[in-house]
Amino acid sequence: MKRYLAVALGVLTAIGGFVDIGDLVTNALVGSRFGMSLGWAVVVGVAGICIFAEMSGRIAAVSHRATFDLVRERLGPRVGLLNLVGSIAVTLLTFIAEIGGVALALELVTSVYYLAWVPVVALLVWLVLWRAKFSLMENVLGLLGLSLIVFSVAAWQLHPDWGHLGHQMATADKPLGESWTTYAYYAIALFGAAMTPYEVFFFSSGGVEERWTTKDIVTMRTNVFIGFPLGGILSLSIAAAATTVYSPLGISVDTLGQVGLPVAVALGKIGLAIVILGFVAATFGAACETGLSVGYSLAQYGGWQWGKYVKPQLAGAFHATIVVSVLLAAGVLMTMVDPILVTEFSVVFSAIALPLTYFPILVVANDPDYLGEHTNGRVTNVLASGYLVLIVIASVAALPLMVITKMGQ
């Protein structure tokens, strides 16, 4: 059993990146509007995050340095601070949205208005981050989040025209009613969600939490190459299920209930129960991932003690930032802002954070002072350089596309 649970970190990290509340809705929205024609963006994103997460995990295993340590060591305090501001903005906005997301998922079960759930959820998230052991958190939330696999079953049970979906994906066949700028905006949104920077913060810090050494490189790679593709499959399954149900009706998805409906259509009540469990677990997992990542990045920039591998009283400043984040999240949600809309603004800050996070990882992954004999091979370097260029292009294009398309309308 322990051997199977060893991939929990990768699974939980990927859930936070691919099926957090913003992505759940975006995937279904994209499926309902664009069919599978944007599926390639998810595939490209999965490959990219695998390459960079593997590097950050390898650095964590061999040199015991998490990603934001590298950001400060290689970019210095000034540019590092710029990245810190961008990264914390992305992570905190997502954290706020996730607490709202758990509340929305609980509203689906209980019919109690989500705002009533927000303080309860915020308190629960904080208790988990403060008291629960890291391994317990990743195992329980990672496993429960896997119940979203029900989307794959549903997509299969809905008997879509697989040939047509495959053709749409392979030929990037944009529907006639949508403009190319909107298409590009969603391509960048999906790519950015797959490569969102808090995944590497969480994954590398999680490696340090679990006390990885050079011996654990194989475990780390298993985490990467099972976790992230699984996240990608969940992401594509949600889009496929939404395409099959909503495309013929011309409905565009914008609520969490609509995201889950195709499962209920395909699998009935049992399916609905599983999908709601999956929503709660995935958004709760993403809340823990982003909440910790805010603390990780700030503490690693400043050099404070961080991590759940020490008693909370030894890492006071780290836990204090988590308390502040939780209070801030609950406060922002109480203004009745739409949690799903909150994640869409994080695209702006991703544009700063993405290149400034992945560049130092690539530099250090080639540095024998950190990695000895475990530096990058030639193939990894060629792929990673290509992705770095892609990330810069996506970052530059993100803001203009966001303005031109009015956030994808």
Binding site: R65, D69, P77, G302, G303, L362, Y370, N376
Partner: protein, 247 residues
Amino acid sequence: MHDFRPDHPGPIDGWPDAGFDAVLHLLDRQIVDSNGQLVGKVDDIELVEDPDGRLVPTALLVGMAALLPRFGAHAFRSWARLAPAFAERYQPGVVEIDLVDDVTSGVHLSVERDGLLRSRIDEVGHPVRHRLSTLLAMRVDLPPDAGAASHHARVLDVRLRSRAGASGVQVGALLVGRGRPGSMLGYERSPERGPWLIASVVRWLHRHSRLVEVGDGVEVDWDAGVVRVAAGAAVRPVVDRSADGPA
């Protein structure tokens, strides 16, 4: 809790007597105490002039009073003014260099962290203390024959070498080049380091950077904030041109 160190010894193999680059290998690294608990970052490094005029690193400086001056005098003053009565607003915490047990990807101390960081209280007649960041902010006046780096040249990194006849290291050479963008990220040290894209861009940006040997003809003027390099001082290119083909 115990000190949990990486398997790999680098980057400073043979501390405290092995040479290294102060910015690349020590500045901004994580400081870890003897129990493996985190202390802070190396926010700055204290340099002291010994009686022979050589610059020797004597302490790691930790805290906002060390970090903020690197963002500029204004940032530091604004922060200090929030509580002007407290001396620690102006004086950083000091970790004597003798307390550093080893440097791996982190800086490992031989003592526990509780109550470790204190400000310096100097008696009359104390040695002249400088900061690495001050040196890094200095303009460098190079002689015309040194190459094209003579405009807007700054100190990018400080190469420390082991001291003859004593333990520890001293400033041996200055890596000098255009101020921005930043340092060479270690790409000058091994020509084969990848990836090709980053290595090529860094080497191209630093094609005019020079290594200036500290010694005759090199004067560090701390008051004026200038490093003056006279004609005839030992100045050589940092990038090995033969590895890149014709320039």
